[in-house]
Amino acid sequence: MSLLTIEGLWKNYQGHNVLRGIDLEVESHEVVCLIGASGSGKSTLLRCVNLLETADDGTITLDGEEITDARVDPDDVRKRIGIVFQAFNLFPHMSVLDNITLAPRKVHKVSGKEAEAQARDLLDRFGLGDKADAYPDQLSGGQQQRAAIIRALATRPRLMLLDEVTSALDPALVKEVLGIIRELKEGGMTMVLTTHEMGFCREIADTVCFLDGGVLLERGTPEQIFTDPREPRTREFVQNVIDARRL
């Protein structure tokens, strides 16, 4: 049974169909990369999985349970999915440690001591051990994004969704964030990411999905998509990426 199954997902914004009948299956420990032009629906797809947006049609199933059912409690579902955004969105009025321990303490009812120990452990593992008591505005962009990823990890999610997590960063800082994602993959985390870093996508993805105008146009391994795409629009997109020297 797949960890995540999306069937016939439609999403409409003010008369415009942003997602049109998306079908996708993600297995445990798989890393799926969504690529496509801006506005093709990648972020919307992630937000629908996380129930930040309500799908207009179709179903999403997580661990065999249909999460798009109207009777399901969204907060309950969100406890099992971790999402990280392009703009980090750390809570500015709390230290990094408090940012990370907030959800484990309040949502998962972990004790304060245990939550702190786990948080410090994660911070050490990913190179932010000395920043535990710092405030977000004292950290660089790369450090903030890593902290945001750790914050999502602290709740021990079944699935991690990463939405353009390197797009707001200086090239120098992109590396450190990609490093942490690489480590997550080695640890066996199931992930769906959207990214413009095609080189990284090629390296890390098990499956690459190309979205175009809300439609999942093509799906395959990185080799298939980047060296010999089937669809003409995919070819066009990949060619643009190569021309921009990003592959």
Binding site: D76, I83, A87, N89, V107, D137
Partner: protein
């Protein structure tokens, strides 16, 4: 300078002669304009005072409003009355903050099940921002006891506190609402994504940020409340204004009003400076 020349990095900065000359000129010009400004201000103030004190009615005004004997005679009573104002203020202020925050949070609820609560919050805000504070004091002061409900407070100062809380609560609710809405929706999205409920999100993420942002306008409302405690005089308790009124009524001299005014100023000026300091500090922080 050619590209292959090594850039010369100066070791320490010593001001050049040109810079020293510039600084001398600027210093001279600022001293000059400063003195001109001071001199002309002093001149204007002296002129205004002269106009004031040579006006035809001045002797009469002076003995009616600025009589020292009357001032010292009325001061003890006015001062003890002022303590009541301070008491009213200290009790009303936390109540206003609580009411304001609750109403703002109620207005923020989106779930359909909360519709009555939200509607109530809107009605409350509309009514109590629309009616003048002095009218609310009258209505509560005379109307509430008239209902004859058991347990209604009859103490005039308490009724005044209730009226001020209702009136200012509505303003403060709007201030809190603006603060809550100014917190970027991405903060709420991040909190909900972690599995936090609406209530937890408000309590731990949104409200703490909102409150920090609205401290300057809230302090402004505090200063305003301090002087509006005088409005309570209209329903009778012996606070500063009422004490002054009693003295004025018996002596036909208005100096006690001035005494009361002075006491209010002594309280609100430190508050106003503190507000400025906090506002400046938050500006500096945001500018970082």
């Amino acid at each position: 300078m050619k590209n292959d020349e090594r850039l010369r990095v100066p070791a320490d900065w010593e001001k050049s002669e040109r810079q020293l000359e510039r600084e001398r000129l600027r210093r001279r010009s600022s001293i000059r304009s400063g003195s001109v400004a001071t001199a002309s201000t002093i001149l204007v103030v002296v002129l205004l005072l002269w106009l004031f004190t040579t006006s035809p009615g001045w002797p009469r005004v002076r003995e009616t409003f600025f009589d020292l004997d009357q001032f010292t005679g009325a001061l003890p009573d006015v001062l003890s009355g002022f303590l009541l104002n301070v008491k009213i203020f200290l009790i009303a202020e936390p109540l206003i903050l609580i009411v304001g925050l609750l109403v703002a949070l109620a207005r923020n609820l989106t779930a359909p099940v909360f519709f009555p609560l939200r509607a109530l919050a809107v009605i409350y805000t509309d009514i109590f921002r629309g009616v003048p504070t002095i009218l609310i004091i009258y209505l509560v002061g005379f109307g509430l006891p008239a209902l004859g409900l058991q347990g209604t407070p009859t103490d005039l100062a308490t009724l005044g506190i209730i009226a001020l809380t209702l009136s200012y609560g509505a303003y403060v609710a709007e201030v809190f609402r603006a603060g809550i809405e100014s917190v970027h929706p991405s903060q709420r999205a991040a909190a909900r994504s972690l599995g936090l409920s609406h209530g937890q999100t408000m309590r731990h993420v949104v409200v703490p940020q909102a409150v920090r942002r609205v401290v300057p306008p809230l302090l402004n409302d505090f200063v305003s409340l301090q002087k509006d405690t005088a409005l309570v005089a209209t329903i009778g308790p012996l606070e500063a204004l009422r004490q002054a009124q009693i003295h004025v009524a018996s002596t036909f001299n208005y100096t006690p009003y001035l005494a009361a005014a002075l006491l209010f100023i002594l309280l609100t000026i430190p508050m106003a400076r503190f507000t400025d300091y906090l506002a400046a500090r938050s500006q500096r922080r945001r500018g970082q």
